[in-house]
Amino acid sequence: MEEQTKGLGNAELWGGIAWLAFGLFIAWEGWAQGLGELREPGSGFAVFWCGVIMIGLSASIIAGAVAHGGPPLASLWAETRWPKVLLVMALLLVFGFFFEQIGFIPCSLILLFVLMRFIDPVPWWQAVVVSFGAVLGVWLLLSKLLKIQLPAGVLAPWLG
């Protein structure tokens, strides 16, 4: 039987509270946008009612969590490799920030090599060969064959 708690560490409770806050925000946005009249609903009409429904549903989730409990928050990440998940997320964000300035080829090469060597390490030569092969292959296919523009970045003088 899965561990359950009714205390403040209850994951169901926190999930419900997060969605309740989001629902309140959406309902407020819809209200501010203007509901219009029933014979001519305004831009905020559907947004507002979606927010109200979200509030109702999240309240029912919170009530269920309080009454029946739920898994402890910490148990959701127990015995998992969550630092690797965080690392991948951070790498993707860094990639996004530098993608246009540095360019597709250098950015993707670094991303692939780092992911292959530092998450679940593969031999370095495999990482190098696969990274170069995949990045150059994708670049040739998209930029040259399908004429889809990818940022050239620092390699612009050579790639044209």
Binding site: W19, A46, C50, W77, F95, F99, L111, D120
Partner: protein, 501 residues
């Protein structure tokens, strides 16, 4: 034009060299992603959507459709040889397919899966061809109230059939509706939920949302635990099933096809549910139910036929009503819209090239899939041996490239990362992304029809109840909402509730 001459016209479209190439690319990629665990048809379709933009609409849609039904074929290979389903519809094939492989009967298991899929896929296309025109004629009588209620029913049914808490599934559907409303209001041209960002004026794009929720989130979840994959080492042998295998599989294949097609046409239904339903049906009908789970070929033939028939049946509500019954077809609806087409009752009149071209291409695609899955099985086995630590960085890169090339905006890459993180956390807390994505696609349509119906009825909500089709849809939706409150029926729901992706 009668059905046969329309179909002949469809073949003249589908057999054009570029469309043939698109069909082959679709079914090949579909099989590949079906074979590879960790990337599903939704991610693959979102990934390839930008590439189809430069192609004519019929070629783009033919390719996207090929990915969908191709993935149904490919998923069985991984289930049988590795005991890990390539995609959700093949989960049940693991039970007997992998047992057969361990007993040295991988060949007949793969063979019957491919042949069953071919048979069911072909029957489903014939049925689609015959049913679609009639249903489309009927759908011409639909007004905004009927469309609104039908979409509400579809979302409720999907939430009902989604694994876990129904409140959570409905909440996800509502979040999806809100996300679908971001951008400029189509009626008043006012900005909504854009927070002053120019990138959001046209709304959130479907590609980064889907890629984040399914592609990135799936990878993040897989990275949490080290998963080992061991391909069955025994020789695969002849793929052609023996006479005994055929005799045992004929009935399950036929029943699976009928069941799958019917379930596939229902809003919220799909390949996953039909494959489980077929397995349960065969086990119940069998004189030796104890053989199931220990390598019974009926446990492979029925579900594989069912999931392929469901894939064909699912095109009916999309092509005739413009309402996708599941999240994969919701993405296909997105592809139609991006290509400037509106699926619905008028599609076959206004764009016969597209409608009949897709139908004809499905016949051709099924033959291509048989060739890809029978003689080339050795190649797919080699693909299975690519280790995940090499695979996931490549999938991530394809996701980024796919998202960027769809809009040429790095903003969408951040949207993908955001939804990737959201999808990962949602899975942790037991919130399924499928209702969110379906509602996201339907959101603008649903709101538009709601507002139109209210304007036409002078603000009278009774219009949704007094019109028979609309009233019936809403009644069913209410029943779905009430069922989880009744303990006996709630347990039955839990038994059939399945994750759609």
């Amino acid at each position: 034009m009668d059905v046969l001459s329309s179909l002949a016209h469809g073949f003249s479209v589908a057999l054009q060299p570029f469309n043939l190439l698109a069909c082959f690319a679709g079914v090949f990629v579909g099989t590949l992603i079906g074979v590879l665990p960790g990337i599903g048809p939704v991610t693959a379709m979102a990934l390839l959507l930008p590439i189809t933009l430069s192609a004519p609409p019929e070629a783009g849609i033919i390719m996207m459709a090929g990915i969908y039904y191709g993935s149904m074929y490919g998923g069985s290979t991984t289930s049988i040889l590795v005991n890990i389903p390539g995609e959700a519809a093949s989960v049940v094939t693991c039970l007997d397919g992998h047992e057969m492989a361990k007993q040295g009967r991988a060949g007949p298991a793969l063979g019957i899966a491919a042949l069953g899929s071919f048979f069911a896929g072909t029957v489903a296309i014939v049925a689609l061809m015959l049913v679609a025109p009639t249903l489309a004629n009927w759908a011409l009588k639909f007004g905004p109230a009927e469309y609104f209620s039908l979409m509400v029913l579809g979302l409720t049914l999907l939430s009902f059939l989604t694994h876990g808490s129904m409140a959570k599934a409905l909440l996800m559907a509502t979040v999806g509706l809100v996300l679908g409303l971001v951008g400029t209001d189509a009626i008043t041209a006012e900005e909504r939920l854009t927070f002053g960002r120019l990138e959001l004026l046209d709304g959130l794009s479907i590609v980064p949302v889907v890629m984040g929720l399914f592609g990135v989130a799936e990878i993040l979840s897989n990275l949490e635990r080290k998963v080992s994959r061991e391909v069955v080492k025994a020789r695969i042998g002849s793929l052609w099933p023996s006479r005994e295998d055929w005799n045992a599989s004929k009935g399950p294949m036929a029943r699976g096809t009928l069941l799958g097609f019917f379930v596939g046409t229902l809003p919220g239904g799909g390949a996953v549910i039909s494959s489980f339903a077929s397995y349960a049906l065969e086990k119940r009908l069998s004189k030796h139910p104890e053989r199931f789970g220990k390598g019974a070929i009926e446990g492979v033939a029925g579900p594989e036929a069912a999931n392929n028939a469901a894939a064909g049946g699912a095109f009916i509500p999309l092509l005739t009503l413009g309402i996708p019954p599941n999240v994969i077809l919701a993405l296909l609806l997105g592809a139609f819209i991006i290509h400037g087409l509106q699926p619905g009752p008028l599609l076959m009149v206004q764009s016969p090239d597209v409608f009949w071209g897709i139908v004809a291409s499905m016949y051709i695609g099924n033959i291509m899939l048989l060739v890809l899955n029978m003689p080339l099985i050795g190649m797919w086995v080699q693909v299975l041996k690519v280790p995940y630590p090499l695979l996931f960085p490549l999938i991530l890169m394809f996701c980024i490239v796919g998202v960027f090339s769809s809009s040429a905006a790095v903003f969408d890459v951040f949207v993908m990362v955001l939804f990737g993180a959201l999808g990962y956390v949602m899975r942790k807390f037991g919130y399924e992304p499928a209702p969110l994505v379906l509602a996201f696609v339907l959101g603008p349509l649903l709101e538009n029809n709601l507002r139109k119906a209210l304007i036409l009825s002078q603000g009278d909500f009774m219009t949704f109840i007094e019109r028979p089709i609309s009233g019936a849809c809403l009644l069913f939706a209410v029943l779905m909402l009430v069922v989880p409150l009744l303990p006996t029926l709630a347990r039955r729901r839990e038994a059939i509730a399945l994750d759609q992706e």
